[in-house]
């Protein structure tokens, strides 16, 4: 007899679209670091990044029953909320806590170690951080070709698409990443 954890085959979309509290917890665990880094890079303020992360996940939890997998990737939906929360915070000068309050979630005071970690996530220029702005297909193609050094033919066979499609996804994905880094 071996071990068996909760099956890892569940996609982000299934986790978010379900009603199981554990599913949302797993969705949170998968994306919390990326979201903290996203907010930290844009606000350069660990406290605000933490507040925005909490507010984004709280809002996502509240409205998860409205999410439909056929309308797009779960991570894109999450970043849609994140971008709206960020825009609101930049306009107001502080992060709203409406969704957190509605769910009875208290504000979390950050320790020095928390601040250091959030700052580090914001400073990170890892491929994952740079790829977060891409759609799922482009992100998967860029990751497979650039990070994992797989050939176009190899990726095309695995994804059941033509090589030309994979090349286009990689090319457009890299162009987006370059623009995000300030290049042309």
């Amino acid at each position: 007899m071996g071990q068996c954890m909760r099956p890892a085959v569940v996609s982000d979309e299934a986790l978010l679209a379900g009603t199981d509290p554990a599913g949302f917890e797993e969705f949170y665990a998968r994306h919390v670091d990326m979201l903290l880094g996203f907010f930290s890079r844009r606000t350069r303020n660990a406290d605000m990044a933490a507040d925005l992360t909490a507010e984004t996940f709280a809002a996502a939890l509240q409205s998860r029953r409205r999410y439909r997998p056929q309308s797009g990737a779960a991570v894109a939906w999450l970043y849609g909320i994140a971008k709206k929360k960020l825009a609101d915070a930049q306009r107001r000068g502080y992060a709203e806590r409406k969704a957190c309050r509605r769910l009875g979630m208290e504000r979390i005071e950050l320790t020095d170690a928390d601040i250091a970690r959030i700052d580090a996530l914001g400073d990170s220029t890892t491929a994952s951080a740079l790829l977060e702005v891409l759609g799922p297909e482009q992100r998967a193609a860029v990751r497979a070709h650039v990070v994992h050094e797989r050939s176009y033919a190899d990726i095309a066979a695995a994804e059941h698409v033509s090589e030309a499609v994979v090349r286009k996804r990689v090319s457009r994905g890299l162009a987006t990443v370059r623009r995000r880094m300030g290049g042309r």
């Binding site: 509290p21 665990a29 029953r65 250091a116 959030i118 994992h148």
Partner: protein, 349 residues
């Protein structure tokens, strides 16, 4: 690395999600109450009966020793981010997600080797003469004699959104979504794929494997049994109790069932035993010939628990755990290791 903020927020969200789920259930129940006064009477009567039974069950549960037998013998911060673990070849094999490598750890907690594995690790398993590591794009084979990657296999369906890895009868199985792929250790190649989609197009929910069979719970609630070597279909049954398969051994399948676990006969679906663990959500299970370990979260709040069950499903002890959540569990030398999301391993005997 501090995980305080991340862990605290996780706990807050967990509690909020539980409350939302309860509200949601209440909302769904409300229209029925309004429309059917008779149904309310019947429901109240049933509730009364249920409360009587619940009282009995709670009494039973109070008899369970809650802190005696299992004890924490060691805690080691091994990695920055917890992932899967698997025991084999006298060691524990630990996914080091943040650093993109697999650690080989001795039973005393010392790291004896670190093997680089690019990509996001979805699962790992020490079986069939090797350590197998499934990432989002490849399946890596590590030779435990040399601690080196000796094969890189590209599964036809990549585990971009996660996947599972199981040892069958002389073969390895990779599950990704609806696909079950067989890997031949002799050739390091994927030589068979099985589509697990249900009759009505439902995705498979979860599965477990023992030495002879693969048990897959389909979306329609029926459990499909496949031969662990060939993948050929062996049967289709409706389990006597609903629940996701957690682990299988010697023809018996352990399910997460209601507020506890249940064992069914894999061939007939017949209930063998059922054990209440209070009101808890099961996060992980590990076992060997000596004991079955179940990690869960009390849904009413409180610390995660670890229960030790015997082969008949009787609870032989319980232990409150210091960490929230578990990403990997595996038995080693009569003890069980639990990997927390924070990367700290707790060893319990």
């Amino acid at each position: 690395m501090s995980k305080d903020f991340v862990t605290t927020l996780r706990l807050q969200l967990r509690e909020a999600a539980e409350r939302e789920a309860q509200r949601s259930r209440a909302r769904r129940a409300l229209p029925e109450v309004r429309l059917r006064p008779l149904a309310v009477t019947v429901a109240l009567a049933l509730l009364l009966v249920a409360l009587v039974f619940a009282g009995v069950r709670l009494d039973d549960h109070r008899q369970v020793p809650t802190t005696v037998a299992p004890q924490i013998v060691a805690r080691v911060a091994l990695v920055d981010q917890g992932g899967r673990i698997s025991s084999g070849f006298g060691s524990m094999w630990v996914a080091d997600q943040a650093a993109g490598r697999v650690l080989r750890v001795t039973p005393t907690g010392a790291t004896s080797a670190a093997i680089r594995v690019p990509g996001t690790i979805a699962d790992l398993d020490a079986a069939e003469g090797a350590v197998w590591v499934l990432t989002d794009s490849r399946l890596y084979r590590i030779d435990p004699a040399s601690n080196r990657v000796v094969a890189r296999i590209v599964p036809p369906v990549p585990a971009s959104n996660g996947g599972g890895l199981f040892a069958g009868k002389g073969v390895m199985w990779v599950t990704v979504g609806r696909s079950l792929m067989r890997v031949q250790p002799r050739t390091d190649a994927v030589d068979r794929s099985v589509d697990l989609l249900g009759r009505g197009g439902e995705q498979p929910r979860s599965g477990a494997v023992d030495a002879n069979a693969i048990y897959v719970l389909r979306g329609d609630g029926e459990m499909l049994t496949l031969d662990a070597r060939t993948g050929a279909r062996r049967g289709l049954v409706r389990p006597a109790v609903p629940g996701d398969p957690l682990i299988a051994h010697d023809g018996r399948v352990l399910l997460e069932s209601g507020s506890g676990v249940a064992a069914i006969d894999g061939r007939s679906g017949r209930l063998l035993w059922r054990t209440s663990l209070g009101d808890a959500r099961i996060n992980g299970v590990a076992g060997d010939a000596r004991a079955l370990w179940v990690q869960g979260t009390p849904t009413g709040g409180g610390r995660d628990q670890l229960w030790r069950l015997d082969a008949k499903g009787d609870v032989r002890g319980a232990l409150p755990l210091p960490d929230i959540g578990v990403t990997g569990m595996a038995p080693l030398a009569g003890r069980v290791w639990l990997m927390a999301p924070t990367g700290t391993v707790t060893e319990v005997r």
